[in-house]
Structure formats: structure tokens, C-alpha cells
């Protein structure tokens, strides 16, 4: 799942698009030239996609797909090696009562917990292959992003060195909102470079926009373009520490940017809604939105993820209901 060949930083396309160097002025001209978002239309479209009825075999497929797309997350100040180990155990065996349950895509932890996650995963760790479970680490002074670039880069490099396959970085929202797009751009480029491993491959880079702090849909659209231009492999809605976190309209908007980018360049960028998705019902709405916006191709761990912790248990309860025919309860899944 790691980027092995594409090591062009920033994306060559970005340079072509600006027809000149990446400067604040050029970025502003470009990003602020993007048409505004029709907020009412966007929310209506998202609400419409949320009304689809997914039942029986489709639901069963959807539940399994959701599990395969989950970044099982623990991002607490109180995280301990033991908690990370139990999280990893859950990632490997989500439902001990049903061995046919698929595994999650990745575990997402703080940078200093990466060695414990790698160790606990053992042979289940993907280690750059397409099978197995990835270790994702949040970096760059997550969740606020308020640190100097040097600190952010060493935070990132440290996580990569410890064995993280994916880095979830936060953008500098302060700089973005102040209009210093160039600074945000350069930081993403630099962090991407810090994701380089000793062997020249790169850890996957997810760029967290923290849409709850960007205030407008227009800003979300601009930040999405900016992150993709700068070389992000994934754009992610939120840290989960700010409310509102992921919402369906915001995710739809980001998916539209990804769709447009794909039409423009042929490159496939991933999307990760994170925070606030707690029920299977909500998650299924996201699946529908992905399939209807960018296509079913995107419903795979390379291109779409859920950042969640309690979602998994709800999916497992629904899954148990479908297999056993009666309602299950929280006593029949592991506690987080």
C-alpha cells in the first residue's frame, strides 16, 4: 500500500497548473479562482444520498466493506502500550465469535505508540505489502499543528522510522485561514519528504484538513485542492478532536474534488472521513456517497478509509444480527 515509484514532490502537475513557481500569489490566484460551493445544493445532495435503503445481502456486503475500510483508532492522552496492544488484537480479530469477520485496514495511533503497534501486529503487519494491517501514525504536532516545521518534520520522520506505513498530518489551519497558502503547501511538501524511508520508498501521507475549523465549504474545497497539489495521497476530514468532525456534505465535497482531480490527471487520491461516524447506518451513507460520486473503485483501503473506534463495535453488532437472526448486545463484543 505504500507509494514506491511516485516520488515527485510536489506533484509535477501542480507546477504545470500554475505555469510558474509555487508562490503565495500564484496559489491564491489559483485557489481563489475555484468556483464557490453551492452549499444548499451540496447539503441536499448529501441528504439525498443518505436516504438510500441498503438491506439484506447488500447490507451484509456493506458491513464487511466498512470493516475492511476502518482505521481503528486510539488517540488519547491516556494511551498505554497495553491499550495499543488490545487495539491491535481487536484489529486482527474483530469478532472472536465469527472467524469470517474481515480485518480492518489499519490501526491509527500516536507516533510514540508505533513501536508497540508494530510489535503487537507481528506477522500481521503489512510491511509495505498489500496484505496485512497497516500502522498509521498521527504526526506534525497533532491535533493542533502548532509547532515549528522542524518539530513537525522530526515528529514525522520519527514515526516513519519506527515503522509507520501511513502518516496522518494536520495542515496549519492558522496559516491557511490567514491566506498563507504557500506556507501550508510547503509544509505538506516537506512532510511528504520526511515520509521517505531509508530504502527510498514513502509512507502514505494523509493530509488532515480539520474541516471543522475551516468554517466554509469554499475553504474545504480550496484546502482539498491545495493538499492534493502538494502531494497528499489521502485527504482526511478531521482530527476527531474538534466538533463538528466528519459530516456527509463535507466528505461529499472532498470526494468531488478527488473526482475532478482524477478526471484531470488520472491520479486516484484517497479520502478519509474521521470522527463522529459511530453507527453502521451512518457509515453505509458514506459508502453510498463514495460509490455515487467517485465510483465503486474507491471502496478499497487504498482509496477510502473511516477513521473510527466505536464504529467497529456497532458494525459487529449489526453483523451478528444478520448471522444469528436476533439482536445482539454490547456484552457480545469487546470493549474498546
Amino acid at each position: 500500500m505504500t507509494e514506491t515509484t511516485k516520488a515527485v514532490v510536489p506533484r509535477a502537475t501542480a507546477l504545470e497548473m500554475f505555469d510558474g513557481p509555487v508562490t503565495d500569489a500564484n496559489l491564491r490566484r489559483y485557489l481563489e479562482g475555484i468556483p464557490g460551493v453551492d452549499a444548499v445544493g451540496l447539503e441536499q445532495r448529501a441528504a439525498g444520498l443518505g436516504t438510500r435503503s441498503i438491506k439484506t445481502t447488500s447490507k451484509k456486503w456493506a458491513l464487511d466493506t466498512i470493516i475492511e475500510l476502518i482505521d481503528l483508532t486510539t488517540l488519547e492522552g491516556a494511551d498505554t502500550p497495553g491499550k495499543v496492544r488490545s487495539l491491535v488484537a481487536k484489529a486482527i480479530t474483530p469478532d472472536a465469535s465469527d472467524p469470517s469477520t474481515p480485518r480492518v485496514a489499519a490501526v491509527c495511533v500516536y507516533g510514540d505508540m508505533v513501536p508497540y503497534a508494530v510489535q503487537a501486529l507481528g506477522s500481521h503487519h503489512s510491511r509495505g505489502t498489500d496484505s496485512g494491517i497497516n500502522v498509521a501514525a498521527v504526526a506534525t504536532a497533532f491535533p493542533s499543528g502548532r509547532a515549528s516545521l522542524a518539530v513537525k518534520l522530526s515528529d514525522t520522520a520519527d514515526a516513519v522510522q519506527s515503522g509507520a506505513d501511513e502518516i496522518d498530518m494536520v495542515i496549519d489551519r492558522g496559516a491557511f485561514l490567514a491566506g498563507r497558502y504557500g506556507q501550508v503547501f510547503d509544509e505538506i511538501v516537506a512532510v511528504k519528504e520526511a515520509c521517505r524511508r531509508a530504502d527510498g520508498t514513502y509512507a502514505h501521507l494523509k493530509v488532515i484538513l480539520e474541516t471543522g475549523e475551516l468554517n466554509t465549504y469554499d475553504n474545504v474545497r480550496r484546502a482539498s485542492w491545495l493538499s492534493i497539489l502538494a502531494g497528499g495521497d489521502f485527504i482526511k476530514t478531521s482530527t476527531g478532536k474538534v466538533s463538528p468532525a466528519a459530516t456527509l456534505p463535507v466528505t461529499l465535497l472532498m470526494l468531488e474534488v478527488v473526482r475532478d482531480w482524477h478526471r484531470l490527471t488520472g491520479e486516484k487520491i484517497g479520502v478519509k472521513p474521521a470522527g463522529g461516524i459511530r453507527t453502521s447506518k451512518d457509515a453505509i451513507k458514506y459508502l453510498v456517497t463514495v460509490a455515487e460520486t467517485v465510483g465503486e473503485d474507491w471502496l478499497q483501503p487504498h482509496l477510502f478509509r473511516f477513521g473510527a473506534s466505536s464504529l467497529l463495535n456497532d458494525v459487529l453488532l449489526q453483523r451478528q444480527k444478520m448471522t444469528t437472526g436476533h439482536y445482539s448486545g454490547a456484552d457480545y463484543v469487546t470493549i474498546d
Binding site: 451478528q320 436476533h326 439482536y327 445482539s328 448486545g329 456484552d331
Partner: protein, 286 residues
Amino acid sequence: MSRLAVPKTYKLYIGGKFPRSESGRTYEVTTRSGEFLANAAKASRKDARDAVVAARSAVSGWSGATPYNRGQVLYRIAELLEGRRVQFISEIEQSEGISIEAATAQVDEAIDRWVWYAGWADKYVQVAGNANPVSGPYFNLSVPEPTGVVAIVAPQKSSLLGLVSVVAPALVAGNTVVVIASEALPLSAISLSEVLATSDVPGGVVNILTGSPAEITPWLASHADVNALDLTGAGDLDWIDLEIAAAETLKRVLRPGGGADLAAPSLDRITALTETKTVWHTKSLI
């Protein structure tokens, strides 16, 4: 001048709110002779599921309240019932087709029974618990604790008294309740839900479903998040199958009642819905 009749369409009571049935279904409640009284919501299995979720989330608050506080809250319900006495009497008189004296007697008995159970809230542990003799320098104490979420089929031939007789004892110990009201006589249950909504009972502690017990009960019996099943009013159902379904998840089951009063007041009804916790504690620090 004649007034236009206002036919009522009642809703369910789940989690302290009054939602319509998820299925959108309603059914007509009639008098004994078949005249229209009101529309009631016909709950589906998904309403039962939602009710269990609401009941589960209310367990920690209700069972964690002090017994004294629970008693006060329950007693307050009796006060509110008393305030709505006339409404209950008239509803029972109409739907059961009985005399006003008989309806009054039923409401009075129901309120008295509620008060009687409310009084048990801070006393039943002393009576049902025990200090066990052990051969060592330890206290060994057994105390009853609430079992959790209790699903109840209310007596079908009684409007208010039957309902109160099964709901109150479950609440005393700190359980939360999902109760299926009498299908033919649901008006008192609906009025009781209005009483509960304006009382101090936290939302989700009592959830009242109207509709067909035959349709909903199997889902509650097999539901893994329900801890006990009170089949007092399920005598006309295939309750043996329900008991078998409940056994799959080791639920406590109360079998259908018999006799004139299906659920006569007793301490047993309270303790039947509890688990016994036994703790050891050293007698002294040396």
C-alpha cells in the same frame, strides 16, 4: 353548538420521547362494543430494538441512583397518577366497558400498589440481602443488585392495574423496562407514559410499546441485550418458545401469571429481577 370530535392518534414512549412507530403503522382502539376510541401506534421489532437501546443507556443512571432517591421518584409517580385519577377512570370505564365504581377501584388499587412498591426501594436490600456466616475473620455479604434491562409483556386483560403490577416491581431494584402494553386496552399505558414523561423518571427507564405482543415479544426474548423477560401477560402466546429463545442468552424469565390478579404484589416480584452479589471483607485491620 356541537363541537368537532378530536380523534387522537397516540405514539410510543421510547427514551423519554414520543416517537411514531418506525413502521408508520397504527391500529384502532375501540370500546368493548366496537366504537372508536383512539388510534394507537403499532410498534414493530425495530421500535422494540430502539427501546432496548434507550433502556440500556438508562441502566447506569437509574441503578446508580440511591435507593432513597429511587423511592422518592417512584412515589412522585404515584402522586401524578393521583392527579390524573379522573382521566384514568374514564379511560378504563370506556375501554373495559365496566362501571365507574369498578374503574375507580382499579385506579385506586393501582396507585396504592405503586406506593407500596415505591416504599420497597430503600428496604428490599435489607430484607433480601444477608450477612452470611463464614469460618474466618470476614464479613460475607450477599446483596441483590438489578439485573439490567427487563422486557415485560403486561397483562392483556387489565388496563392500568396489570401494567403497574409488572412495571413497578422491576423499577424498584433499579432495572430499566421495555413493556408491551395490553393490545386491546392500551389507553392507560399511554396515559401512564404521559405521567412518566412529566415526572422525575429519567428518559429510557420506562419504555412503553403499544401493538401486538405476539409480533414483538419474540424479538425481545431473543435480544442479547435484554437481561430478563417477564411473561406475566403472555399466557395467550406461545410462551414456551419465548422461554426457549430467552434461554439462549441466559435471561431470567418470569412465567405467565395465573389467577384473578396475574401479578399480585409481592417482594418476590422485586427479587426475581435481581442478581445476588456476594462480597468478602476483612473484619478488622490488624
